[in-house]
């Protein structure tokens, strides 16, 4: 049962990350394989704020801000210019892969290869329903729940959220209805980047120790969770993340933590084979 508790945290963090990742794909058509490197870079900015005396929770805001700004800049200065050239969609994917490598190993070159950890005690332990969760983990769970609720509210009830969904469904028609599509896309990168920074930072806090390459395989979990829920479906992403998060942690408890990504990858392959549009997606999603 304790792996269930841990799986819940993994799932909550993965949900935040996948929602951001899916938003980028849905609204702007970029499969941002550099997502993991933005996560870990955000975590390191937050970590440095923390070791320079800022409390962990305030430094978390620094991580969120970093993810947001870096993602916005990636889109503005790298992805959009490539998209404008009307190259095959795979080009942008390859570019993103390159950005991921530069982001990860560039970070490693700066911070070195050692493990670091936040100056934040996990807090006292809480037992319930047979699960053991630390105070830190409870706070992480609460943050994730609030943020997912907020994302839901934005997408469903605000003018911006509706414009984002409209842009995702049919950008030409959105433009024709007076939506400033370019601005909606920029805003999407700011928001999804904030989710990316948040996920990276809480992931690092929760893992305890981390290093520059810690999020390198995270993309596998993201892809698995996204495809499970249906590409481009934010609600599907939440569901996919919950499933993948629990499945990988529980299987890690029974086999070995090394197989986490393998399990996720098998789930991804299964989905692509039997239901490529996901559980929530319709066949027309692509």
């Amino acid at each position: 049962m304790s792996s269930f508790g841990f799986g819940l945290i993994t799932a909550a963090v993965l949900a935040i990350a996948t929602v951001g990742f899916t938003m980028q794909f849905a609204v702007t058509n970029v499969l941002n394989l550099a997502y993991g490197s933005v996560m870990i870079n955000s975590a390191f900015v937050s970590y440095y704020l923390n070791v320079h005396g800022v409390t962990a929770w305030v430094s978390l805001v620094g991580g969120v801000f970093t993810g947001s700004v870096v993602s916005w800049a990636l889109n503005r200065f790298i992805f959009t210019p490539f998209q404008r050239r009307n190259l095959a969609p795979i080009t942008v994917v390859i570019v993103a892969l390159g950005v991921d490598l530069v982001g990860t190993f560039g970070l490693q070159a700066i911070v070195g290869g050692g493990y670091v950890s936040f100056r934040q005690s996990p807090g006292s332990e809480y037992h319930f329903l047979g699960m053991i969760l630390s105070g830190l983990q409870l706070v992480i769970l609460a943050i994730c729940a609030v943020v997912l609720g907020l994302v839901h509210w934005v997408l469903k009830y605000t003018r911006l959220g509706k414009a984002m969904r409209a842009t995702s469904a049919n950008p030409n028609l959105a433009r024709n209805s007076g939506v400033k599509v370019q601005r909606v896309i920029s805003t999407t990168w700011l928001i999804s980047g904030a989710l990316c920074g948040l996920a990276g930072t809480v992931l690092a806090m929760n893992t305890g120790v981390f290093e520059a390459t810690s999020a390198q395989l995270y993309i596998v979990l993201l892809l698995a969770a996204m495809f499970l829920g249906g590409p481009g479906e934010p609600y599907g992403a939440m569901f996919g993340a919950l499933t993948i998060g629990l499945a990988t942690e529980i299987s890690a408890a029974y086999f070995s933590p090394q197989y986490k990504e393998v399990i996720a990858f098998l789930a991804l392959l299964g989905m692509l084979t039997f239901r490529p549009y996901g559980i929530f997606g319709s066949e027309k999603t692509n």
Binding site: R159, A163, A169, N172, N176, S177, G178, V179, S282, K284
Partner: protein, 249 residues
């Protein structure tokens, strides 16, 4: 308080327009004019460039040469969100709604440029015009029937009370009865209330019945134009559209 669904019409015209994709012209040397209170139709065989012409008018496809103007303003190559602001409502041939959004959300996006407080009244006015939509406000647009979907697509552009309506084959895939109702009741209705209507239509006969003037497109050019009753007596037109086909693609 009643909300008007359309503004007094504006003249929409082109002079020697050519437009196409990737710098290659699909339509050339097109000069047409649509004026308030009238239905102006464009007919022509598949692939003759009807949709391309409409897209060029509303800023979706690049104009390579010539001009487009509405109400005396030059709108050549204006981004399509600006064209919408000037009162031109465009219903594309395909991809005319946002399938994952509900009917209500589709209408709200249609009213994106309005003040928030204006939106409920406008939705009420649109639904008044298309009562079928009333029971489906929370249904996803992707789950509507063809006819309901077209009503929603038109409802979306009516949210901004357009002066000019540009409709690309609104009756495609509709049962004949529904198609006739759509054209005679709604499309003609818009013009009768003073709007300018520019209509592309496959069903030549139905198009003529509700039009004040008709342009015939062939191979990307206007090959013939005239009042419906004159076209009906033109042997070339009769042979091409009400019989065999000799108008080039």
């Amino acid at each position: 308080m009643s909300v008007e669904l359309s503004q007094p019409g504006l003249v929409l015209s082109t002079t020697a327009l050519s437009a196409g994709y990737d710098g290659r012209a699909i339509v050339s040397d097109i000069s047409i004019e649509a004026s308030p209170g009238k239905v102006i139709s464009i007919v022509g065989p598949n692939g003759s460039g009807k949709s391309t012409l409409l897209k060029a008018l509303v800023g979706v496809v690049r104009v390579l040469d010539g001009t487009v103007s509405v109400g005396g303003n030059d709108i050549t190559n204006l981004p399509s969100e600006e064209v919408a602001k000037l009162g031109v409502g465009y219903v594309p041939q395909i991809d005319d709604v946002f399938p994952p959004l509900t009917v209500k959300e589709n209408l709200e996006i249609g009213g994106y440029l309005l003040r928030r407080s204006e939106i409920p009244d406008r939705i009420a006015a649109v639904v008044d015009r298309f009562p079928r939509l009333k029971e489906m406000m929370s249904r996803k647009a992707g789950k509507l029937s063809g006819g309901e979907r077209k009503m929603l697509a038109m409802g979306r552009v009516l949210m901004l009370s357009p002066s000019v309506l540009v409709l690309d084959e609104p009756t495609a895939n509709l049962a004949p009865m529904v198609a006739t109702q759509l054209l005679e009741e709604y499309v003609r209705g818009f013009a009768d209330q003073g709007s300018t209507v520019l209509l592309v239509e496959q069903r030549a006969k139905s198009a003529l019945r509700i039009s004040d003037w008709t342009y015939v497109l062939g191979g990307g050019r206007v090959v013939l134009d005239g009042a419906p009753k004159d076209l009906q007596e033109n042997p070339l037109f009769v042979e091409s559209f009400l019989g065999g086909s000799s108008i080039p693609k």
